[in-house]
Point group: C2
Chain length 205, copies 2
């Protein structure tokens, strides 16, 4: 029995959806059929949004976040504190931190983390591009680099690597706190997080 | 504090991803940034695949499945049994059944299910289009309509509605069996499935 195979145009669309992170073959098929159910103008708008974003967005030459203006909105904002740089793995992390409305310094996007397992070395990241940013003078001299890489093995390795790199330069390297998420409860916290939360305990004044 | 907002092109791309079923705002942001990480040619290929599929695929005028040939591959296949029609909710269900390599009859795609809650009436589905297909003569006379709508409230309602419609026409309406999925185990089955599995029990010969 030959079976009933997908039309070539559908196979192609499913292949494309299947490239997206977290999208398996079944979801790819569902999304491809969903696209067919949209009005023609909406499919065209989606299609154009993809190409439009890819062609408009570039890397900020200062902090290496993805941006539509050069330098990016944060780097060009003279009200931001130029004495602190927060190092993150991806541009999306910049938006996560901005949403917290707590941080007023600058950023530096590494575009990944050190991973011997996946053969990602320090030289594959925007690490050497961070160093010239630390050479400012006077008011512009960076005092602190906050290491806000992810709290996984690769992120911790990267943070440790950067901390060792910064030490001889006399710049304070800090690591974001690990602990119980706000609004969560102890029962749901895993042992590693609880251990970090206990270790990072603070005096209540 | 103004905060750091996404570039308009990124907002647009996230809005488009957010329209897809099962994609929330956080996943939409992740997918939008992933698109930026792809090489330009790949983004263009993805974009063109969407428009290509939408412009190529049409409804089969016989069974109403989405197809790139008219009539569709199944309807045009003279080796298929024309005395049985399997009624499904969506074109994707046709592919699911074909993958089982068990069924050799024809299909009819309703494009949805009856849902008073969501105000989807029988006339919103391809039900009236099913009736002329049941009027064949001799070898081409349909003997059985298999109701393969989903085993949820809407799917059961639709199956019942169709069964009542078919009865006066003297055509056998059958419903796909509910029961324990193959390879699963009783412990994981919910009570409603177990009840259906018991009710549908068969003698082992």
């Amino acid at each position: 029995m030959a079976g009933y195979i997908h039309a070539p145009v559908m196979q192609e669309l499913m292949k494309q959806f299947g490239k997206l992170p977290g999208i398996g073959p079944k979801t790819a098929q569902r999304l491809a059929f969903f696209v067919l159910s949209l009005p023609r103008e909406e499919v065209r708008a989606f299609s154009e949004a993809m190409v439009g974003a890819k062609e408009t967005m570039t890397l900020c030459p200062v902090c290496f976040s993805m941006t539509d203006v050069t330098p990016c909105q944060v780097c060009r904002d003279e009200t931001r504190d130029r004495q602190v740089i927060c190092v993150v793995e991806e541009t999306a992390d910049v938006f996560s931190i901005e949403r917290a409305r707590e941080y007023r310094g600058l950023y530096h996007v590494l575009h990944g983390s050190i991973s011997p397992m996946e053969n990602r070395q320090p030289e594959d990241l925007k690490i050497k591009e961070l160093l010239p940013r630390l050479e400012g003078e006077g008011e512009r001299r960076v005092q602190e680099v906050i290491l806000a890489t992810n709290p996984d093995v690769e992120g911790e390795t990267t943070a440790l690597y950067l901390a060792r790199l910064l030490k001889p330069l006399g710049i304070r390297a800090t690591r974001i706190a690990h602990g119980i998420p706000v609004g969560s409860n102890l029962e749901h916290a895993d042992a590693a997080t609880l251990a970090q939360a206990l270790e990072g305990r603070r005096v209540i004044d």
